[in-house]
Symmetry: D2
Subunit: 387 residues, 4 copies
């Protein structure tokens, strides 16, 4: 268990960091929601605050005054057990509460939490909730960045956000295959450090021998796939992926544009020519699968990934796996509203492993299981081959 003062600094840093991420924005950028998957930055700022108010302050802080009773309705995300809420697709229709008001809300809650933890003693249960609240905010920091990228990157003016060189950093080593033996491997989280419930239930899996690449697939390799007609040949694709390509008229990765006959992509620093040496990103599972098929390879399972992750560098891209998002043996969801965190999404989604350039510090580990629907591309997703 983290010491109270360590926990409190961790909390304060995290709160500050969310605001620092928004510093380059205009007020208007906080408001819009171009697609349902993307939330307005001001919503992220309010929702992460609501989480602390709802699950900690209202229950444990004696004499706490709720900032505004309407906010519970506005900033609940999906917790059915916490009452009614604004329909997700409507978040971008709300001009109020204003950005200024939300910063006041943040300050109000940050102060109240600090006071609560600066007081003499706090029950152990509170420490657990604080950790969840902090990691919850960190998860939203990642979404904040990718949602900001979507908001700016789909604006016809293509405005830059800020300097962000790690987005397009290359992996300098040569591609090679790491060979892994057939046998039993241990999977899942062990130890006392924080993790989500979906990582628990450490268990054995039996893996056939396999090889996994020590390097992410690059833009250059994907350009070859495009040039070879990869988007036009159904045999590389799942039936569902082929429908997606045709219905959406997909012809390149997200944020890619042809300018004067040459491929460019929108980055946080604005439009740039595609760098063939850099790892590709903003790829859907469908495209990752089709690329691997075309290459005569496949995606690793999440177990293969975890079993070999110590032998290759990772952390630049969330990496699609072949695994569906399912419970580990013995998985049990938590009681009450926090039980809605993970378990209810365990159908029709794919697991991603690793972490990305948008992932905040102390928020990645080898057992972390991220999950998204197959067509989604607005995260910093990437691709590592296996065979």
């Amino acid at each position: 268990m983290l010491a109270t003062d360590t926990l409190l600094s961790f909390f304060k840093e995290t709160r500050k960091h969310s605001e620092a991420l928004c510093a380059p924005l205009e007020t208007e950028d906080y408001v819009v929601q171009p697609i349902e998957d993307v939330s307005p930055p001001k919503w992220h700022l309010g929702h992460t605050t609501w989480f602390f108010e709802e699950f900690i302050l209202k229950k444990f802080a004696e004499g706490y005054t709720e900032f505004d009773p309407d906010f519970s309705f506005v900033f609940n995300s999906y917790y059915e057990s916490m009452g009614k809420r604004v329909v997700r697709a409507n978040r971008g229709n709300l001009s109020r509460p204003s950005v200024k008001k939300i910063y006041e809300y943040r300050e109000h809650v940050t102060r109240a939490i600090s006071e609560l933890f600066e007081a003499d003693s706090t029950p152990e249960e509170l420490h657990g909730l604080m950790e969840i609240g902090i990691h919850h905010e960190k998860q939203h920091q990642e979404l904040l960045l990718t949602d900001i990228k979507y908001i700016l990157g789909n604006n016809p003016l293509l405005p830059a956000y800020a300097t962000f060189p790690m987005e397009y950093e290359r992996e300098s080593h040569e591609q090679d295959w790491i060979g892994m033996d057939e046998g039993i491997y241990e999977i899942g989280h062990k130890g006392d450090e924080f993790c989500y419930d979906n990582e628990l239930g450490a268990h054995k899996v039996y893996l056939n021998a396999y090889e996994i690449s020590n390097k992410l697939v690059t833009n250059g390799e994907f350009l070859e796939f495009i040039a070879a007609g990869g988007y036009k040949e159904f045999s590389h694709w799942h039936a569902e992926g082929w429908d997606w390509v045709n219905t959406k008229q997909v012809q390149c990765l997200q944020y890619w544009h042809q300018v004067d006959g040459r491929w460019h992509y929108y980055t946080m620093e604005g439009l740039k020519p595609v760098d063939p040496e850099a790892p590709l990103t903003h790829i859907s599972y469908y495209e990752a699968f089709a690329f691997a098929q075309w290459k005569g390879c496949r995606l690793p399972t999440e177990f293969e990934w975890e079993a070999s992750q110590e032998y290759f560098p990772w952390g630049k891209r969330w990496e699609w796996t072949e695994s569906a998002y399912l419970p580990y043996p013995g998985y049990e969801k938590a009681e009450g509203a926090l039980g809605e965190y993970n378990g209810k999404f365990m159908v029709s989604q794919k697991v991603l492993r690793g972490s990305s350039v948008a992932t905040p510090e102390k928020h990645s580990r080898p057992t972390y299981r991220n999950f998204f629907h197959p067509p989604l591309r607005w995260q910093y997703t990437g691709l590592r081959l296996a065979r």
Copy 2:
């Protein structure tokens, strides 16, 4: 033809008035688009400016420097002949250009137009375009107000806009029927003053004898319709209206809410109890028709309305008529982009006559033909019975 200096003051007043209408807004309120029919206030401010830049400055102002070449794409509304444009439903997804930048754009264009007209002489064609541009901006002022009402009135916090008493002003006179004789009446605009092309082609129509009410239908009368089960009895409704009621689960006028068992409505001043004496508003054509059926009356045609309008007060509500929006005899649309103004909407819409509390000064006249699709309710629409 208006004298140049009169025209110029008219222009400057109009430009100022648009900005005055936005004075009570927070920056965030300028940005959102909760439904496709509602445009973000900042879009209205930019689009009306683009109109002057595109149709006047670019063509007539020698040496004029375009404010930003991308704005043509962002602020074109529907003019197919003026090139590509942001899809209407995406207007609320654009955080940039910022509100501040749009105010700079307005100033840039207002100044350039002023300089153009303060110069020695201007061709007559320019005067006509200026008049259209000014009336175009006035039309958007009306939309600005009703779009602002929608944005705030659909926010769960129901924030007030400003003091706006004329919205709920009563008509103090007793209801009575004005009898009109059978015969030939002259319809359409005559004279030199400004009008839109859809009002031209003054012509004769033959009307049967009819009676028209001297008073708008009130909230109290509509409460009786609700109490009598009007929304539940299909025989009052068009088949299409009945579908609309059932699909959208409509049970009251727009902006009406039950609070503690009593009907309230959102007004520009916030939530208030419904005043039974005030003229109803925010009614669809479907509801207006059903109400009239239930009452054993009908809606007037636009010709009946125009032929008798001098005998009753009007100007508080846009009044639905039974007439479909069709061209007058001899109607010809203007050459070029301005020809897209009216003619291409002459199918599947209903005519509304009069004007509303949102209509700016000098923007209403007895021959003015407004038009909307039958289900729309976000304008200050109302209802006058005939029989």
Copy 3:
């Protein structure tokens, strides 16, 4: 009022004719519903029978035994007042009752009606209902033919229905313009013969001088419109029509196909080369309007059509007019279920005048008002220009 025996023969002929129209069908052709607007032939046969059973036999035939109580649910079309019914779009999902059973139903009802009218005396009200029932069945005979055409003409095998030469008959006279004077004209049905309630309320209209063509627009003229890029130039189209063209990717009239670089069309006799001299058909209102715009002409109003109809031949095509489908002065819908016949459709539709090659005998007259939504094309629609 028709004499009882005349009425009865009229009834029997009409019943037989419906069945004769279906004689060329395979059993399978009776069942399918490729689009919501098209009903399965067996549904038409059942529904027209249900109409007599429901409105006449159940009310007036003492001791009448209902054929099958479930049929009321299956064969009600849209009469809200007659209880629940199969949703229109589901008609083609019903394999039962079988075709054989429906023919038994027809026989059962035809016999019972005959017996009722062969009995001593029948109240006058019954005569009116019989006339409506017969004309109702005649209306469905027209739909039977056009629905059969749709069913076969959208089958990839393009099977022929039967010999049907009048479908492609030419108008042999030269095109000319009929000049009509400005003035007052009388519109609407007068006299004792059968008509629908929407034709009643004979009244005066004032028309400006106009000219109307003595000839329908031909396929050859429409080929010129296509060749001139008519489907690609938005300025000819209503905004709503332009959306329709682009969303549906419309490039020719319905049933037209390019075969080896030459235009063909599906007819009731199978696929044939388009005859440039024959009147065009299967055109939407949107296309009719765009063609007229391109030609520098316009569509007549329904009043212009009716006022001049005696000076030109008609009856091959339902002719689109510019008029919206609205009630005539003094229009009142009938009491009860029959009141649902016409009035509730008087919004968002266009009037067509004349009649077509699919119209049964004794079912057309100069005052008849047909009505369809602007995009519909599966009727034998056509186009006569005015100016």
Copy 4:
């Protein structure tokens, strides 16, 4: 490899059996397609025939005359590599080819195949294709039955199909738990007998200790779930399942109806009271999962099912598992069109194990992997608990 004459009798029996399944139908029942997942019986009869014609006769039978060149377009299901095809949702819009014509087609192809195999010698490759063709037809026999049930069971007349007692047969033994040890198990198909490519790649999996029920969940247990408000409590459901329940207003299993306050279900023999002792069927994965949650249990994985299947009776219901449909280690899809059989569906689907009352003889085995999307219910699906 099967001896040629054994193979040929197997083929002939299979062909006959498909036709026997259709014997109770009226011609009309062959035609309709009430939802996209259900195909018209005549389509199944044609498509299974096309498979033999396309993959065997056209390639191996010298001098074979194609029955009708248009049928390739009409009866291709989803083989992108075999050219254009009728869109799945349009199968029910095709009245032609007639049922009679399709039976002629069947006879033509059955005879040609028989002649081909009665000739002196046939290459080994042909044997493999024949086996696939026969098993393909068997798969469609299962669909034939469930599609017929859907067609009749969604008709308002609820007509019976035929006597079919095994549909509602009880499992007479007491429910008990079978305990399985932790350890390594071998999964997948071995040996020479026919199987699909998705069963190949026999491999080891490591399983934790688990218990699996020796009995399917019954209607009576599901009635308790309903009575306990199972459809109204979100905490039992996946988020996606909860949306499905609310959007579709699901309140009971498919084919269940309340009649006079008591639950009935449509069976192949018509409407019957629900038997609480019989195994439930027509359940979606969402409902199966929610039921298991409510019960404090879970669904088995497909590996758990396969590892323990010899200890319990199965074969009445396709049983939902928790496993997503994914490739086994080393999975490679076949070359050419047959490679489209399985692999391209390996995303977003759940595995079902066992077989059902609709499964034809010789078409089930312990390693068989069926797969469907989570909301589908028209198969004879069921549920076995694990913990």
